[in-house]
């Protein structure tokens, strides 16, 4: 079973679940709301490795033995869980729950798209400067980036105001290209995903003033629907191995 973890309103996750089922995979969507009202939890680490077990409502059960892959669309502790944490220890409890999620997600077997990182549950949610530096190292031409003491840090984290002109998807070793982006970028895109420690990456490009395409940003939780059936094929292949 491929586990799909997502927030309730994640239409891309629902789309991916449907497409994977069409391709013969068994999927189980577990939302943040499901996790917020889950019952007994048991996570063990020791000499024999790590295991995880969680009882969901309606008799559903998640456990290490049944999960054969993960499409991970959680960036942080789900919103429905956060709503249920209150009191003077709220901040501490959130840190504890995040630490737990990071560990149990890491313990799951099978292809993890994407594995959790301390800086983001579905992969490191990097600062724009970090993505650009990685992209340059991977060999992609990138929009210049500048930062100084004079800048307000908060807006630097904000996403793009509109979808990027073109997105290239890396899914495992497969590239789902965009017709406008040069295919000569393919290997550098794979390198970027490897350097980022992820198997699923949406890489955004835009043309510069000279008309040449350049890297502008990347996402460990891309809008899968933008990649269409080719992304669905690549996901299915990644989970089937």
């Amino acid at each position: 079973m491929v586990l799909i973890l997502c927030e309730e309103a994640d239409v891309a996750a629902a789309w991916a679940a449907g497409r994977l089922r069409q391709r013969g995979l068994t999927t189980d969507i577990v939302t943040g709301a499901d996790l917020a009202v889950a019952g007994r939890l048991e996570h063990r680490i020791g000499r024999s490795g790590a295991t995880f077990e969680l009882e969901l409502t309606g008799g559903r059960r998640l456990c290490s033995q049944t999960v054969k892959g993960l499409l991970n669309r959680l960036t942080f502790v789900p919103a429905a869980c956060l709503c249920r944490i209150g009191g003077p220890d709220r901040d501490y409890a959130i840190q504890e729950i995040y630490a737990l999620y990071l560990s149990w997600l890491h313990s799951l077997p099978g292809p993890l798209l994407n594995p959790p990182a301390p800086q983001g549950l579905c992969g490191n949610w990097r600062h724009p400067s970090s993505w650009i530096a990685l992209a340059v190292q991977a060999g992609l031409p990138a929009m210049p980036y500048r930062q100084s003491s004079k800048d307000d840090p908060a807006p630097l984290w904000q996403g793009l105001a509109a979808p990027a002109p073109a997105t290239v998807f890396v899914v495992g070793e497969r590239i789902v290209a965009h017709p406008a982006v040069p295919r000569g970028f393919d290997e550098a895109c794979r390198k970027l995903a490897r350097a980022a420690g992820v198997k699923l990456l949406g890489i955004d490009f835009a043309p510069g003033g000279d008309g040449r395409w350049r890297f502008i940003s990347a996402s460990v939780m891309p809008d899968l629907m933008r990649g269409g059936e080719q992304v669905a094929d690549a996901l299915a292949q990644a989970f089937l191995g």
Partner: protein
């Protein structure tokens, strides 16, 4: 040039400064408390990362900084900003400076001790435990649960248990006692991490690149870091690790991307080695002051590329 960042009087930073003096190394101190007189500007383009750093009267090319040791405190609580209202020019400058410095440190070439990204594993002890296992070190048998019956079964299986936080917050070790068992039902509200108590000698291992300094801690309390608070005492002394354990510690620190790490081990009476955690920002001064082990000198040599 080497850059030391933080509060110059803070013990680890001061000790590394003295060790760099002894080496005759070229270094500067970025004093956070003088943030009003600090500036940084940098850019990434096709040629990599370039920019400048102003430390009061001196300005440097970032490309000339070959190594950095940083122990930055939260700039929002710098004494110099006390009384400054939210959004004041002084606070805006301090935030902007520290953010730009922090993100440059993440991508700067050279020897950075330690970048923030690899420090993250210490924010989840059970996650880090799974990474530790990959390097051939044992970790204590661990259970995280919200079910009291599962805890009691785990206790029957392993005997004395301890509990501690999963995150890096409030990370103090407690033995699970009768008082705790009486309130065990509370874990239904938030899962808790329990571990089988591992008997033996505590060992702190500071790894600096390939150099290893092991310190044995003899204490009469469960968590020696808080011995005084618990009404107990601790005695520290320099120790030797078996070569294969030292090699595993070096591989672990390197694998986690940490040129400098403080690894907490326990050696059981029958010689088994358990690893509890890897501290990515170790306050080594406590250990050096108590044992005379030359940890700062190792760090200075690493920073100097010696």
């Amino acid at each position: 040039m080497i850059l030391l960042c933080g509060i110059p009087s803070e013990s680890p930073l001061a000790m590394v400064g003295r060790a760099l003096d002894a080496l005759g190394a070229d270094y500067r101190v970025l004093n956070q408390r003088k943030v009003a007189a600090l500036d940084i500007a940098w850019q990434i383009d096709g040629a990599g990362v370039e920019g400048t750093l102003r430390l009061e009267q001196e300005t440097f090319r970032l490309a000339d900084i070959e190594a950095v040791y940083f122990r930055l405190m939260d700039d929002r609580i710098l004494p110099e900003l006390e009384g400054e209202p939210e959004g004041s020019p002084g606070r805006r400058h301090a935030r902007g400076f520290h953010d730009a410095l922090f993100h440059w440190l993440e991508i700067a070439p050279g020897r950075i001790v330690n970048r923030a990204e690899p420090q993250g594993s210490n924010g989840s002890k059970p996650y880090q435990a799974q990474l530790i296992l990959q390097y051939g070190l044992r970790v204590p048998e661990t259970l995280i649960t919200n079910d009291p019956h599962t805890v009691l079964a785990f206790q029957r299986e392993h005997g004395t248990l301890i509990y501690k936080s999963m995150s890096g917050v409030r990370s103090i070790v407690h033995a699970l006692g009768q008082d705790d068992l009486a309130r065990l039902d509370l874990i239904r509200w938030c899962p808790v991490q329990f571990q089988a108590l591992v008997p033996g000698i505590d060992m702190r291992v500071h790894v600096v690149d390939r150099e290893v300094h092991a310190t044995e801690i003899i204490s009469d309390v469960l968590d020696y870091r808080y011995a005084r608070r618990a009404g107990g005492s601790s005695e520290l002394r320099a120790a030797e690790l078996p070569a294969d354990t030292a090699d595993k510690c070096v591989a672990l620190a390197r694998g986690l991307g940490l040129p400098f790490a403080g690894i907490d081990l326990k050696i059981t009476p029958d010689g088994e080695v358990f690893c509890f955690e890897v501290n990515p920002c170790p306050a080594f001064s406590f250990y050096e002051a108590n044992t005379g082990q030359p940890i700062a000198a190792s760090l200075a040599r690493y920073l100097a590329g010696a």
